[in-house]
Protein backbone atom coordinates (compact mmCIF):
# COMPACT_ATOMS: atom_id res chain seq x y z
CA UNK A 1 0.00 0.00 0.00
CA UNK A 2 2.96 2.37 0.59
CA UNK A 3 4.11 3.85 -2.70
CA UNK A 4 5.93 7.14 -2.09
CA UNK A 5 9.13 8.74 -3.19
CA UNK A 6 9.75 10.82 -0.07
CA UNK A 7 9.64 10.41 3.69
CA UNK A 8 6.47 11.50 5.45
CA UNK A 9 5.99 12.95 8.96
CA UNK A 10 2.84 12.67 11.02
CA UNK A 11 1.20 12.55 14.43
CA UNK A 12 -0.86 10.05 16.32
CA UNK A 13 -4.48 11.23 16.17
CA UNK A 14 -5.85 11.85 19.68
CA UNK A 15 -9.01 13.83 20.53
CA UNK A 16 -6.94 16.16 22.73
CA UNK A 17 -4.67 16.96 19.77
CA UNK A 18 -7.37 17.10 17.12
CA UNK A 19 -7.82 20.88 16.96
CA UNK A 20 -4.07 21.45 16.82
CA UNK A 21 -3.70 18.83 14.09
CA UNK A 22 -6.52 20.30 12.01
CA UNK A 23 -5.07 23.82 12.28
CA UNK A 24 -1.59 22.58 11.25
CA UNK A 25 -2.62 20.19 8.48
CA UNK A 26 -0.36 22.04 6.07
CA UNK A 27 2.66 20.91 8.09
CA UNK A 28 1.50 17.35 8.83
CA UNK A 29 1.81 14.72 6.11
CA UNK A 30 -0.48 12.10 7.68
CA UNK A 31 -2.18 11.04 10.90
CA UNK A 32 -2.11 7.66 12.58
CA UNK A 33 -5.37 6.46 14.10
CA UNK A 34 -5.65 3.79 16.78
CA UNK A 35 -7.89 1.11 15.27
CA UNK A 36 -9.64 0.16 18.52
CA UNK A 37 -10.53 3.81 19.28
CA UNK A 38 -11.96 4.29 15.81
CA UNK A 39 -13.97 1.06 16.00
CA UNK A 40 -15.34 1.68 19.52
CA UNK A 41 -16.07 5.39 19.10
CA UNK A 42 -17.76 4.76 15.77
CA UNK A 43 -17.22 8.36 14.71
CA UNK A 44 -18.56 10.07 17.82
CA UNK A 45 -15.74 12.61 17.47
CA UNK A 46 -14.48 13.97 14.15
CA UNK A 47 -15.56 11.34 11.61
CA UNK A 48 -12.58 9.34 10.47
CA UNK A 49 -13.76 9.39 6.87
CA UNK A 50 -13.78 13.20 7.04
CA UNK A 51 -10.21 13.23 8.34
CA UNK A 52 -9.13 10.83 5.60
CA UNK A 53 -10.49 13.20 2.93
CA UNK A 54 -8.12 15.95 4.16
CA UNK A 55 -4.98 14.02 5.14
CA UNK A 56 -3.65 10.50 4.54
CA UNK A 57 -4.42 8.13 7.40
CA UNK A 58 -2.57 5.11 8.72
CA UNK A 59 -4.29 2.67 11.07
CA UNK A 60 -2.53 1.21 14.12
CA UNK A 61 -3.95 -1.76 16.00
CA UNK A 62 -3.06 -2.50 19.63
CA UNK A 63 -5.12 -5.52 20.64
CA UNK A 64 -4.93 -8.32 18.07
CA UNK A 65 -2.13 -10.24 19.79
CA UNK A 66 -0.29 -11.22 16.62
CA UNK A 67 2.64 -13.05 18.23
CA UNK A 68 0.74 -15.80 19.91
CA UNK A 69 -0.02 -19.45 19.46
CA UNK A 70 -3.63 -18.41 20.04
CA UNK A 71 -5.35 -17.44 16.78
CA UNK A 72 -6.43 -13.82 16.50
CA UNK A 73 -10.21 -13.66 16.91
CA UNK A 74 -12.01 -13.51 13.58
CA UNK A 75 -14.45 -10.88 14.88
CA UNK A 76 -11.53 -8.54 15.62
CA UNK A 77 -10.15 -9.01 12.12
CA UNK A 78 -13.62 -8.53 10.60
CA UNK A 79 -14.03 -5.22 12.51
CA UNK A 80 -10.61 -4.12 11.32
CA UNK A 81 -11.46 -5.08 7.75
CA UNK A 82 -14.62 -2.93 7.90
CA UNK A 83 -12.60 0.00 9.28
CA UNK A 84 -10.00 -0.35 6.54
CA UNK A 85 -12.77 -0.51 3.95
CA UNK A 86 -14.39 2.70 5.28
CA UNK A 87 -11.21 4.74 5.64
CA UNK A 88 -8.89 3.54 2.88
CA UNK A 89 -5.68 3.99 4.90
CA UNK A 90 -2.22 4.21 3.42
CA UNK A 91 -1.26 1.23 5.61
CA UNK A 92 -2.16 -0.56 8.79
CA UNK A 93 0.04 -1.99 11.52
CA UNK A 94 0.06 -4.17 14.63
CA UNK A 95 2.48 -5.35 17.25
CA UNK A 96 4.71 -8.38 17.67
CA UNK A 97 3.12 -9.07 21.04
CA UNK A 98 0.59 -11.22 22.82
CA UNK A 99 -2.20 -9.55 24.78
CA UNK A 100 -4.40 -12.38 26.03
CA UNK A 101 -4.55 -16.09 26.64
CA UNK A 102 -7.87 -17.86 26.86
CA UNK A 103 -10.11 -15.66 28.99
CA UNK A 104 -7.21 -13.70 30.52
CA UNK A 105 -6.74 -10.19 29.14
CA UNK A 106 -3.29 -8.95 30.04
CA UNK A 107 -4.33 -5.35 29.46
CA UNK A 108 -1.39 -4.34 27.33
CA UNK A 109 1.28 -5.59 24.95
CA UNK A 110 3.35 -8.41 26.42
CA UNK A 111 6.54 -9.70 24.87
CA UNK A 112 6.10 -13.35 24.00
CA UNK A 113 8.89 -15.87 24.63
CA UNK A 114 11.33 -15.36 21.77
CA UNK A 115 11.14 -18.83 20.27
CA UNK A 116 10.55 -20.57 16.95
CA UNK A 117 7.08 -21.48 18.23
CA UNK A 118 6.02 -17.84 18.68
CA UNK A 119 7.45 -16.99 15.24
CA UNK A 120 5.29 -19.78 13.78
CA UNK A 121 2.26 -18.40 15.65
CA UNK A 122 3.01 -14.96 14.26
CA UNK A 123 3.11 -16.33 10.72
CA UNK A 124 -0.31 -17.97 11.08
CA UNK A 125 -1.91 -14.85 12.54
CA UNK A 126 -0.23 -12.62 9.97
CA UNK A 127 -1.51 -14.74 7.09
CA UNK A 128 -5.06 -14.75 8.51
CA UNK A 129 -4.96 -11.00 9.09
CA UNK A 130 -3.86 -10.41 5.52
CA UNK A 131 -6.50 -12.73 4.13
CA UNK A 132 -9.39 -11.22 6.11
CA UNK A 133 -8.46 -7.53 5.86
CA UNK A 134 -7.16 -7.69 2.31
CA UNK A 135 -3.79 -6.17 3.13
CA UNK A 136 -0.69 -7.10 5.12
CA UNK A 137 0.04 -5.18 8.32
CA UNK A 138 3.37 -3.65 9.16
CA UNK A 139 4.70 -5.37 12.27
CA UNK A 140 6.04 -3.32 15.18
CA UNK A 141 8.65 -4.18 17.81
CA UNK A 142 7.51 -3.55 21.38
CA UNK A 143 9.09 -2.32 24.60
CA UNK A 144 9.08 -4.77 27.49
CA UNK A 145 9.68 -4.29 31.21
CA UNK A 146 10.51 -7.98 31.57
CA UNK A 147 13.10 -10.01 29.68
CA UNK A 148 10.66 -12.51 28.12
CA UNK A 149 10.83 -15.78 30.09
CA UNK A 150 11.71 -19.05 28.35
CA UNK A 151 13.26 -17.26 25.36
CA UNK A 152 15.64 -19.07 23.01
CA UNK A 153 17.00 -16.07 21.12
CA UNK A 154 17.74 -12.39 21.58
CA UNK A 155 15.45 -9.55 20.49
CA UNK A 156 17.03 -8.72 17.14
CA UNK A 157 17.30 -12.37 16.07
CA UNK A 158 13.65 -12.93 16.99
CA UNK A 159 12.51 -9.76 15.21
CA UNK A 160 14.48 -10.68 12.12
CA UNK A 161 13.14 -14.24 12.22
CA UNK A 162 9.54 -13.00 12.59
CA UNK A 163 9.86 -10.53 9.73
CA UNK A 164 11.51 -13.03 7.40
CA UNK A 165 9.07 -15.83 8.20
CA UNK A 166 6.05 -13.55 7.55
CA UNK A 167 7.78 -11.61 4.74
CA UNK A 168 6.30 -8.56 6.45
CA UNK A 169 7.36 -4.95 6.40
CA UNK A 170 8.33 -3.36 9.68
CA UNK A 171 7.13 -0.48 11.77
CA UNK A 172 10.27 0.29 13.75
CA UNK A 173 9.54 1.86 17.11
CA UNK A 174 12.73 3.59 18.09
CA UNK A 175 11.76 4.43 21.66
CA UNK A 176 10.83 0.79 22.22
CA UNK A 177 14.23 -0.29 20.91
CA UNK A 178 15.98 2.42 22.93
CA UNK A 179 14.14 1.48 26.15
CA UNK A 180 14.93 -2.22 25.69
CA UNK A 181 18.59 -1.43 24.97
CA UNK A 182 18.86 0.49 28.25
CA UNK A 183 16.87 -2.06 30.25
CA UNK A 184 18.75 -5.14 28.93
CA UNK A 185 22.15 -3.59 28.20
CA UNK A 186 22.63 -3.91 24.49
CA UNK A 187 23.79 -1.38 21.90
CA UNK A 188 20.76 0.09 20.10
CA UNK A 189 22.86 1.26 17.14
CA UNK A 190 24.30 -2.23 16.66
CA UNK A 191 20.79 -3.66 16.98
CA UNK A 192 19.62 -1.36 14.17
CA UNK A 193 22.49 -2.53 11.97
CA UNK A 194 21.45 -6.17 12.48
CA UNK A 195 17.78 -5.60 11.69
CA UNK A 196 16.54 -6.02 8.09
CA UNK A 197 16.34 -2.29 7.39
CA UNK A 198 15.15 -2.92 3.84
CA UNK A 199 11.85 -4.03 5.42
CA UNK A 200 11.32 -0.84 7.46
CA UNK A 201 8.50 1.31 6.10
CA UNK A 202 7.45 3.28 9.15
CA UNK A 203 8.95 4.60 12.35
CA UNK A 204 7.44 5.51 15.71
CA UNK A 205 8.97 8.13 18.01
CA UNK A 206 7.82 8.54 21.59
CA UNK A 207 9.05 9.29 25.10
CA UNK A 208 9.00 7.56 28.45
CA UNK A 209 10.35 7.79 31.97
CA UNK A 210 12.48 5.89 34.44
CA UNK A 211 10.61 3.81 37.00
CA UNK A 212 12.17 2.48 40.19
CA UNK A 213 11.63 -0.95 41.76
CA UNK A 214 10.24 -0.31 45.28
CA UNK A 215 12.26 -3.12 46.87
CA UNK A 216 15.58 -3.21 45.02
CA UNK A 217 15.84 0.37 43.72
CA UNK A 218 16.62 -0.95 40.22
CA UNK A 219 15.45 1.30 37.42
CA UNK A 220 13.98 0.60 34.01
CA UNK A 221 12.62 2.81 31.27
CA UNK A 222 8.86 2.68 30.85
CA UNK A 223 7.62 3.50 27.35
CA UNK A 224 4.59 5.48 28.50
CA UNK A 225 4.14 7.91 25.58
CA UNK A 226 3.65 10.71 28.13
CA UNK A 227 6.95 12.53 27.69
CA UNK A 228 8.98 14.23 24.98
CA UNK A 229 11.06 12.19 22.57
CA UNK A 230 14.59 11.91 24.02
CA UNK A 231 17.67 13.14 22.18
CA UNK A 232 18.98 9.58 21.90
CA UNK A 233 15.90 8.53 19.93
CA UNK A 234 16.37 11.37 17.42
CA UNK A 235 19.98 10.20 17.04
CA UNK A 236 18.72 6.68 16.29
CA UNK A 237 16.31 8.16 13.75
CA UNK A 238 19.23 9.76 11.93
CA UNK A 239 20.93 6.35 11.74
CA UNK A 240 17.72 4.74 10.47
CA UNK A 241 17.58 7.35 7.70
CA UNK A 242 21.15 6.44 6.74
CA UNK A 243 20.41 2.69 6.70
CA UNK A 244 16.84 2.28 5.41
CA UNK A 245 16.50 2.35 1.61
CA UNK A 246 12.72 2.84 1.42
CA UNK A 247 10.68 6.00 2.04
CA UNK A 248 9.44 6.10 5.63
CA UNK A 249 6.33 7.23 7.48
CA UNK A 250 7.57 8.77 10.75
CA UNK A 251 4.99 9.22 13.53
CA UNK A 252 5.29 11.12 16.81
CA UNK A 253 3.21 9.27 19.42
CA UNK A 254 1.83 11.12 22.45
CA UNK A 255 -0.92 9.61 24.61
CA UNK A 256 -1.26 12.15 27.45
CA UNK A 257 0.44 14.78 29.61
CA UNK A 258 0.03 16.95 26.53
CA UNK A 259 2.33 19.98 26.21
CA UNK A 260 1.45 23.06 24.20
CA UNK A 261 0.84 21.91 20.64
CA UNK A 262 3.78 23.99 19.42
CA UNK A 263 6.09 21.62 21.32
CA UNK A 264 4.71 18.62 19.46
CA UNK A 265 5.20 20.48 16.16
CA UNK A 266 8.77 21.21 17.25
CA UNK A 267 9.36 17.49 17.75
CA UNK A 268 7.98 16.86 14.26
CA UNK A 269 10.38 19.46 12.87
CA UNK A 270 13.22 17.82 14.76
CA UNK A 271 12.29 14.47 13.23
CA UNK A 272 12.38 16.01 9.74
CA UNK A 273 15.81 17.47 10.44
CA UNK A 274 17.20 14.16 11.78
CA UNK A 275 15.87 12.29 8.75
CA UNK A 276 17.35 14.90 6.39
CA UNK A 277 20.80 14.49 7.99
CA UNK A 278 20.55 10.72 7.79
CA UNK A 279 19.41 10.73 4.17
CA UNK A 280 22.28 13.07 3.25
CA UNK A 281 24.68 10.62 4.88
CA UNK A 282 23.09 7.77 2.95
CA UNK A 283 23.40 9.62 -0.36
CA UNK A 284 27.07 10.30 0.36
CA UNK A 285 27.70 6.63 1.18
CA UNK A 286 25.97 5.50 -1.99
CA UNK A 287 27.91 8.02 -4.07
CA UNK A 288 31.20 6.87 -2.52
CA UNK A 289 30.35 3.22 -3.13
CA UNK A 290 29.44 3.68 -6.82
Amino acid sequence: MLNLQNDRFGLGWRPELSSGILVHLGQIDFVEVIAENAISENNKSVPLETIARHVPVTIHGVSLGMSSAEPVATKRLDALARLIGRVGPVSWSEHLAFVRSGNIEIGHLAAPPRTRATIEGTVKNFDRARAITGSAPLLENIATLVDPPASEMNETDWLRGSLEATNAQMLLDLHNLYANSINYQFDAREALRSLPMERVRAVHLAGGRRITHPRTGAQRILDDHLHEVPDAVFELLELVAALAPAPLYVTIERDGNYPHFSQIMSELARARAAMARGRACRMQQLATAS
Binding site: I104, I106, H108, T216
Partner: protein
Protein backbone atom coordinates in the same frame (compact mmCIF):
# COMPACT_ATOMS: atom_id res chain seq x y z
CA UNK B 1 7.00 -27.22 24.49
CA UNK B 2 3.30 -26.33 24.40
CA UNK B 3 3.20 -22.62 23.55
CA UNK B 4 -0.47 -22.23 24.51
CA UNK B 5 0.20 -23.59 27.97
CA UNK B 6 3.26 -21.36 28.42
CA UNK B 7 1.45 -18.24 27.20
CA UNK B 8 -1.46 -19.00 29.52
CA UNK B 9 0.93 -19.48 32.42
CA UNK B 10 2.68 -16.18 31.71
CA UNK B 11 -0.67 -14.38 31.33
CA UNK B 12 -1.63 -15.66 34.79
CA UNK B 13 1.70 -14.55 36.28
CA UNK B 14 1.33 -11.10 34.71
CA UNK B 15 -2.28 -10.55 35.82
CA UNK B 16 -2.75 -12.46 39.10
CA UNK B 17 -0.75 -11.04 42.06
CA UNK B 18 -1.09 -14.26 44.09
CA UNK B 19 0.09 -16.42 41.21
CA UNK B 20 2.95 -14.00 40.60
CA UNK B 21 4.02 -14.14 44.25
CA UNK B 22 3.91 -17.97 44.23
CA UNK B 23 5.94 -18.06 41.03
CA UNK B 24 8.59 -15.65 42.31
CA UNK B 25 8.86 -17.62 45.55
CA UNK B 26 9.21 -20.96 43.79
CA UNK B 27 9.30 -20.81 39.98
CA UNK B 28 10.01 -24.51 39.54
CA UNK B 29 7.12 -25.90 41.58
CA UNK B 30 4.66 -23.29 40.27
CA UNK B 31 5.59 -24.06 36.67
CA UNK B 32 5.43 -27.81 37.30
CA UNK B 33 1.98 -27.47 38.90
CA UNK B 34 0.86 -25.69 35.70
CA UNK B 35 1.88 -28.74 33.67
CA UNK B 36 4.68 -27.07 31.71
CA UNK B 37 7.36 -29.09 29.95
CA UNK B 38 10.53 -29.85 31.89
CA UNK B 39 12.79 -27.86 29.55
CA UNK B 40 10.52 -24.83 29.95
CA UNK B 41 10.50 -25.29 33.73
CA UNK B 42 14.32 -25.22 33.65
CA UNK B 43 14.29 -21.99 31.61
CA UNK B 44 11.76 -20.40 33.96
CA UNK B 45 14.10 -20.89 36.91
CA UNK B 46 16.34 -18.26 35.30
CA UNK B 47 13.74 -15.50 35.40
CA UNK B 48 14.06 -11.72 35.40
CA UNK B 49 12.47 -11.32 38.84
CA UNK B 50 12.45 -7.53 38.93
CA UNK B 51 11.08 -7.49 35.40
CA UNK B 52 8.21 -9.79 36.33
CA UNK B 53 7.28 -7.41 39.16
CA UNK B 54 7.67 -4.30 37.00
CA UNK B 55 5.54 -5.86 34.27
CA UNK B 56 2.83 -7.12 36.63
CA UNK B 57 2.48 -3.69 38.18
CA UNK B 58 2.43 -1.96 34.79
CA UNK B 59 -0.20 -4.32 33.35
CA UNK B 60 -2.37 -3.82 36.44
CA UNK B 61 -2.22 -0.03 36.02
CA UNK B 62 -3.12 -0.38 32.35
CA UNK B 63 -6.14 -2.58 33.11
CA UNK B 64 -7.31 -0.15 35.80
CA UNK B 65 -6.94 2.77 33.40
CA UNK B 66 -8.96 0.94 30.76
CA UNK B 67 -11.72 0.19 33.28
CA UNK B 68 -11.86 3.86 34.31
CA UNK B 69 -12.07 4.92 30.69
CA UNK B 70 -14.87 2.44 30.02
CA UNK B 71 -16.92 3.39 33.12
CA UNK B 72 -20.03 5.51 32.52
CA UNK B 73 -19.34 9.19 33.11
CA UNK B 74 -21.03 10.89 36.09
CA UNK B 75 -21.82 14.58 35.75
CA UNK B 76 -20.33 16.78 38.45
CA UNK B 77 -23.73 17.95 39.66
CA UNK B 78 -24.89 14.35 40.21
CA UNK B 79 -21.82 13.64 42.29
CA UNK B 80 -22.41 16.84 44.30
CA UNK B 81 -26.06 15.93 44.83
CA UNK B 82 -25.12 12.46 46.05
CA UNK B 83 -22.56 13.97 48.41
CA UNK B 84 -25.30 16.23 49.84
CA UNK B 85 -27.61 13.25 50.25
CA UNK B 86 -30.15 14.48 47.74
CA UNK B 87 -32.32 11.89 46.06
CA UNK B 88 -31.95 11.94 42.27
CA UNK B 89 -34.75 10.93 39.90
Amino acid sequence: MNPDKLEHFLAQVYTNPEMRARFLQNPESTARAAGLDENVILQLTKIDREGIEFAGDSFERKRASQMRAAAPKSHWWRRAARALGWKMQ
